[in-house]
């Protein structure tokens, strides 16, 4: 069995060599993509376009505007006294946030009276809006004197501490996710056309005439791509470490094992798609539809799984990147051992075995 599997693998390797352009793409693309998007993407919100409407005009009011600009998060795009311009500024998207300082602000501040400052913001991007609002609260809070009611308790001083990613840098968090996302797409693309191409070109019959078993055929088709994908995975992880400062706190061996399992699952998924489709077009559609958006949105890469509705959380269990991502973050950011993420390994292994079994059953039936 091993000999026959290897024979198919060698044949497939030869084909990979002949189509060296595709092979080079499979090898190099993950690195290029990681390089580009690793630099481009971040959740940190900066250069917020701020309009200041100052009804007061005192020095105290100017201090507020100044504090916003000095925070480094805001860019001033408009300063004036007339609130009516705000509609136009927000509708056209020129302003993202506006602070409206009431008249008598300076006088009230001096007299110790309570003041409320209106802060208008564009909520259409809700996440950015939430972040902007918390910046604004911090800035205004730092300017404002604290008032204590007599006999009341003293304030609470929270001491926040962030573990595993002390400066909450989003690259340290996003880059592992990006690696998982890119590898998933690459591995599915690599194999999703592998079997269906033989069907479409009519060479499936010749394969059928050989004494090959279905499982040998599929394993033989998967192995060469596993080699290619492992190489590009190793490259991507190295790049993440060297360029983006993503640390490796855990064991490299565990990392390799988890990555191999994940790639195997991804490639197996591609093979399954390939056996399910009769034309490359269908395989192409299925391949991209089942990986691109689901891996992006359902893996916990960007959107935390715990905030999704229960039913959708269930669906995420058939997205292999979900398991890989958890294991990846645990191993490289936290340095945790298998006791913590063994369930992810089980998830990945079950997925890989399930898709390859399904693919084998499908192939046997169509043989």
């Amino acid at each position: 069995m091993i000999r026959r599997t290897l024979a198919v693998a060698v044949k497939e390797l030869l084909q990979l060599k002949r189509d060296w352009r595709s092979t080079a793409t499979l090898l190099g693309m993950p690195l290029v993509l990681l390089l580009i998007y690793g630099f481009a993407l971040s959740f940190d919100v900066q250069h917020i376009r701020l309009a200041v409407i100052d009804h007061d005009g005192t020095q105290a009011a100017r201090d507020v505007a100044q504090a916003f600009l000095e925070s480094g998060y805001f860019d001033l795009i408009h300063r004036g006294h007339d609130q009516r311009v705000l509609d136009g500024l927000f509708d056209s998207g020129r302003a993202q946030a506006a602070i409206v300082i009431p008249d008598r602000y300076g006088a009230d501040l001096e007299a110790g009276r309570a003041i409320s400052v209106q802060f208008v913001l564009d909520g259409s991007d809700s996440q950015t809006a939430t972040t902007i609002l918390s910046y604004a609260r911090q800035i205004v809070g730092s300017l404002s004197p604290v008032v204590r009611t007599p006999g009341g308790l003293a304030p609470i001083a929270p001491r926040p501490l962030v573990w595993y990613n002390p400066d909450l840098s989003s690259s340290r968090f996003l880059v592992p996710g990006l690696v998982a996302f890119i590898l998933m797409i690459t591995s599915v693309i690599a194999t999703s056309l592998a079997v269906v191409r033989e069907k479409e070109h009519g060479t499936m019959e010749s394969l059928r005439a050989t004494p090959l078993l279905a499982i040998e055929l599929l394993l033989g088709k998967t192995l060469p791509y596993l080699l290619v994908a492992s190489l590009s995975a190793a490259g991507s992880l190295l790049l993440a470490w060297a360029l983006f400062g993503v640390p490796l706190h855990g064991s490299p061996l565990w990392l390799a094992l988890v990555t191999l399992l994940f790639l195997f699952g991804g490639l197996g998924w591609g093979v399954l798609i390939s056996t399910l489709s009769d034309t490359q077009q269908v395989a192409f559609q299925l391949g991209l539809l089942s990986t691109m958006l689901p891996t992006l949105l359902l893996s916990g890469f960007i959107f935390p799984i715990s905030s999704m509705p229960k039913a959708v959380q269930l669906v995420t269990h058939i997205v292999p990147a979900r398991y890989y991502l958890v294991a990846l973050r645990e191993i490289i950011l936290k340095g945790a051992g298998p006791a913590v993420w063994w369930s992810q390994i089980v998830g990945l292994a079950v997925f890989a075995v399930a898709v390859l079994t399904l693919a084998t059953v499908r192939t046997i039936r169509s043989l």
Binding site: S42, Y164, S306
Partner: protein
Amino acid sequence: MRTLLNLLVKELLQLKRDPKILPILFVAPVIQLLVLGYAATTDIKHVELAVCDLDHTTASRELVDHFTSSTYFQLVSAVPSQDRLDPLLESGAARIALTIPAGFAADRISGRPGTVQIVADGSDAMAGTIGLGYAMTAVQLDSALGGVTSQVEVRPKVLYNPDLLSRNFMVPGVLAMISMVMTMMLTAMALVREREVGTMEQLLVTPLKPGQLILGKLLPYALVGFIEILTALPLVLYWFQVPLRGSLALLLVLCLPFMLCTLGLGLLVSTLTQTQQQAMMLAAFVFMLPQIYLSGFIFPIQNMPKLFQLLTYVVPLRYFVVILRGVFLKGVGLAVLWPQVLALLGLGAVILALARLRFQRQL
């Protein structure tokens, strides 16, 4: 015109012949929208919280109540000693850990600020940051009840999306991405397949002009894409209840210049590649990923390095995102959105011209 019509019918017939493609074209987008529309939420709720209260006073219990009574936190564990918190964070069972030291209430009564420690798991930066933000707010709130307020208060007024529901924007965005992926893939395959199967020669000896051939390949898929949007739109409006403040007609019309770009990109892919595999890689890696990442849909453009900000100007989805936000949430019309429409039309024209040029050279 007749020849064009013939080609259109031929393409549609070909689509119909593959029994598996129809469900993919019309059922898959609906299912995807249903699942992904729910998944794409940045409204963080139920952040897993672990508490270690070493003070055991009314004040400390009130603080804990403040955390647990909101929907933002879900108390997973209350532990008696601080070192029991570590394994909870390590295993990911808790994302935020709150420690109230002994003497917390006594300090506050005697006028010293009472310190509490909040540890956030930063390995998931989004949940970590937002969870930490919630925690700080809860602490402030508790402080205020205890008799401390700040003199200047921020009164937020959120325009367009007062409840800050991420769904209101994410769902239309997901629809745009799904239709982009579908239309681009379909057209990307259109010419490559003819070339691979060898029927390209036959098409070339027909009296069809290259422009007609391209048009004949684009129109059926434009039709398919438009029908897809029409079937998915009711879901967006009635199932997810995304408010549509602008005009529905305008929204539908403005889908056209966007589809012109995605269809054109698909066509360009098919003139640049020899095999369907190459087409798939080129479409996925070079044309789809930038649309997803550089469009401002998930990652705000203003945070990107300058070079990448420049790059986003050639990404059609970037303009469509502004259009979607404008029509759905802001209720604005062409008076505001014309620059986006012009940009999409311009990009579409350039893409089609490039595809046409490539196509001619291959003849």
